[in-house]
Symmetry: C2
Subunit: 537 residues, 2 copies
């Protein structure tokens, strides 16, 4: 039975920079989760976080002349050096980011926060940075989990807050493209599009905070990637403001006119300049949806079934598979997390959205294929549960940290033939690194993005937090990175490189490709003003 999707595009959850969810209405751990924590020896709450007023912040190093020049561009109201604003632009959303803030460490804070309202102001700010010896780091959603906002503070650092650059610039209903200012948050983009009868359909777990520009420069992937593609698939054009001038990148949907330079800007993480607007592919708002849950005996049979779908011509909008551990903890349904999945095995969620004929045609074909592959149809309820709770998983992180747990995620991607070996190797590496510190861990995994030739793996790790949880996790992350690279997989499927993945990234691309990227960096940003240290050394 197809259900209507009129409200699908518009989740109404709360976004608070620096933590998931509304601090006034925190997520609560279920008894099931509390019980699971007990198994890991997590029996004492974490120390109370340092109050924001007591966070240790370095003095601002921007002098009066530079401040005046910044104010000349954007107006005095949009240049801030106060504690609250600087802390609000400090780092991102990774667990180490939160742990360091909880410990009162504000050492990475930008010196000044500047909020332009136009591409012209961004270009002018680049000139001010050059004239006054400042570096500049774009800030939009603030949801980086890889240190993408950890400004290299060798020179005074400007956090370029893009959140005044928002809105739908143009829509082409025939070509089904829409241009957005880079600072437009995804829920706002969907609201603006739905008024015109369209949807972007990009739903990463950071949906509430993430922006169009941020998704572009980090190669974001959303929960509907099977149907609508990754964000880098959606982008047809971008405007990039660099210290040497502004480029309009992307002339046509596809072209043989040289290298596809959109793909050089996508994933550039602010290292080549500031993306100020993005034109994306959109599609008509879906009319109906059909979501369901499927049980597979184990991860191997479930991932083989996903592979058969990903290698076929008819694709769902959403397909994801939890491994046995994640299925057992029922993480696909955060509101019931820990309650367990009665029948064991692995839970798959299948979702198809579109018009009636399209959904009927695709769903019936896909369900035939899943049944042929050994899947048991669990009906619509598990699929609808996942759909309803799909942005709430990360809300559990803050209460888990409060409860004395160390909880973090990591992800990678490889070819199908390497997937099981990669999963085993990363699980062993993380488990081993934490066990070596006396903290047994639960490592759960799901596949949420599939391609004809491979798939991503997304791991969630929970262990008891030690008194130095940042270094505790660093050892586990280091082991995971080494396992990923030893397996020949990519260091990140959709979290990007930032600073945290940089060493593994350089190992992944090698010297010749690094030379090419550094040459581009020098050509477009000869003084190294743009996000120094992020992506490239």
């Amino acid at each position: 039975m197809n259900l209507p999707v009129s409200e699908a595009a518009l989740p109404t959850l709360t976004f608070t920079p620096g933590r998931w969810g509304d601090p006034d209405d925190p997520a609560v751990l279920s008894d099931g989760v509390r019980g699971a924590l007990g198994f890991l020896g997590i029996d004492a709450d974490a120390p109370e976080p340092v109050a924001l007023a007591d966070v240790r912040l370095p003095a601002t190093r921007v002098d009066g002349a530079a401040l005046a020049a910044l104010r000349d561009v954007v107006g005095a109201d949009h240049v801030a050096v106060d504690r609250e604003t600087r802390i609000a632009h400090l780092r991102g959303f990774s667990t180490p980011d939160l742990l360091r803030l909880r410990a009162g460490d504000g050492s990475d804070a930008p010196d000044v926060v500047v909020a332009p309202e136009s591409q012209e102001q961004v270009a002018d700010l680049l000139a001010v940075c050059s004239a006054h010896g400042l570096v500049l780091s774009p800030y939009a959603g603030g949801t980086s989990v890889t240190g993408g906002l950890a400004v290299d503070r060798a020179r005074p650092a400007v956090s370029l807050d893009l959140r005044r650059m928002t809105g739908l610039i143009a829509i082409d209903e025939v070509s089904q493209t829409a241009s957005f200012a880079a600072g437009t948050r995804l829920p706002e983009a969907e609201r603006l599009l739905s008024a015109e009868g369209f949807e972007l359909g990009h739903y990463p777990q950071s949906y509430e905070g993430a922006t169009v520009g941020g998704c572009a420069v980090t190669r974001s992937a959303g929960q509907s990637s099977s149907g609508h593609g990754r964000f880098d698939d959606m982008v047809v054009a971008l405007t990039l403001a660099t210290p040497v001038g502004t480029a309009e990148v992307g002339t046509a949907p596809k072209s043989a006119a040289g290298p596809d330079l959109r793909q050089l800007v996508l994933g550039s993480e602010g290292a080549f300049g500031v993306v100020t607007s993005v034109t994306v592919r959109v599609h008509p708002l879906p009319v109906v949806r059909r979501f369901s849950g499927w049980r597979f005996p184990d991860f191997a049979s479930g991932s083989a079934a996903m592979r058969a779908i990903a290698q076929g011509s008819i694709r769902p909008t959403v397909i994801r598979l939890s491994d046995e551990a994640e299925t057992g903890l029922n993480l696909a349904n955060p509101s019931a997390a820990g309650a367990g999945a009665a029948a064991g095995g692995c839970l798959m969620v299948l979702g198809v959205e579109g018009d009636e004929d399209d959904v009927e045609t695709r769903y019936s074909y896909l369900s035939r294929r899943l049944a042929e592959s050994g899947g048991t149809d669990l009906g619509s309820e598990p699929g609808e549960h996942w759909r309803e709770g799909r942005f709430r998983g990360p809300y559990l992180r803050d209460p888990l940290l409060d409860a004395g747990a160390l909880v973090e995620t990591l992800e990678t991607v490889t070819f199908w033939s390497n997937l099981q070996a990669l999963k085993d190797s990363v699980t062993d590496a993380v488990t081993g690194a934490l066990a070596a510190q006396g903290t047994p861990a639960v490592v759960m995994c799901h596949i949420s993005h599939v391609y004809p030739t491979g798939a991503s793996l997304y791991f969630t790790v929970v262990a008891k937090a030690l008194t130095e949880p940042v270094s505790q996790w660093a050892a586990a992350k280091q082991a995971a990175n080494a396992a990923i690279r030893a397996a020949g997989a990519s260091i990140t499927h959709h979290h990007a490189v930032g600073i945290d993945h940089r060493a593994a990234y350089l190992d992944e691309i090698g010297g010749v490709q690094l030379a090419a990227l550094q040459a581009v960096k020098r050509a477009l940003d000869p003084e190294g003003l743009c996000n120094p240290g992020v992506l490239l050394p």
Copy 2:
């Protein structure tokens, strides 16, 4: 009714470098085509081509020391400076290329032809070029129609013939990927894959001559692009030998680890180095096919129907639409070309290939949509006719040139909302430029590659050849390029840039993007050894 496709992957036409088809069995113009030529005032055969023995060739400028060094790398049998070999590596397949050869102009010939057998030999040859002041131009299929093989002869030039580097290096049946040596011709690639139960499914009109490496560096698009994607969609990894070292590009199907550098090598046309191997996505050999013809009242209604399909979730393997002029001349069925399409309007070809369930599901959905869009189902015959003759169209060019016609093609791509205006503008520009020279022209057009946001346009132009046909066409091509750029479209959808499109390409990308590309060129090829003048100035 679904037909089997057991023989689909293996056309058996003849490939002769420098002309389409077998010179011993030339294509013959039908009475219909001869009649059409009469309408254009084409009433006298072209002058007899200059015999190959009389082609004017510059002396070889490679000295004995350089020749010895080249021979040291590949062996004496694989270094050639004779007339026949040099002429066989002269330019490509464009009409101006053929006309200049017919006129006896061999001025662009490489000084020496060298055929390595391995990636290591390619790397060694790059070192020899550096040591002896030679430049190097990769040669594989020889099917460039944009001057991609027109070596800049400021320095002595090596034509690097890659046709000994052939074969299937590895196949991963689980991930559905296959690695080929770059010089592997497409029919050979399909033959090797079909023995393993797989198909690549890349069928450009240059299929018989084109190679895997050539398709990669020129961003080729094939007739099944709707189902299997462009060649740049198929590539998951490449090996690039550059003067500063060799890069293995591509770690995973998709990744957020920085810019997608595969997309920097794809379309680089040999300017950054030599692609020596390519790993591509493959798929199981299709079991059945269903091809059909559809009539639409006009180009506007036909292209709107294509757009609806391209913007949906369920795609055909092949979809193409001839405009009224091309439908009238029946170019979609070369063996009957000129016979005319009885009922007028525009002919669309729809093709779906896969297994039984997949073909049945997609074909029935797609035919419902085409009927809803105003299409008349003409049954399987027009589709099967197109399929049978699909590589034969270009075979008509040589007899047309013999008959005194000037015939050439050009192509572009834009967003859907701009498509009709672009078609009109290019048609007017070409028609006008030829009429101004006293030669009325027939300009035909088809859409053969569609995307959610836009489509390509492929034009075929026929007029009476003047005594200086190269400059006659140059004026028309110049007008077309100007019209394409004025319309904001890309200068090429799948023919690439070469030398012929370079000026328009630089206009298309602008100064900042050019600076980025030149920086990459300088970093990877600091002495400018690799295909100088192609793609970049």
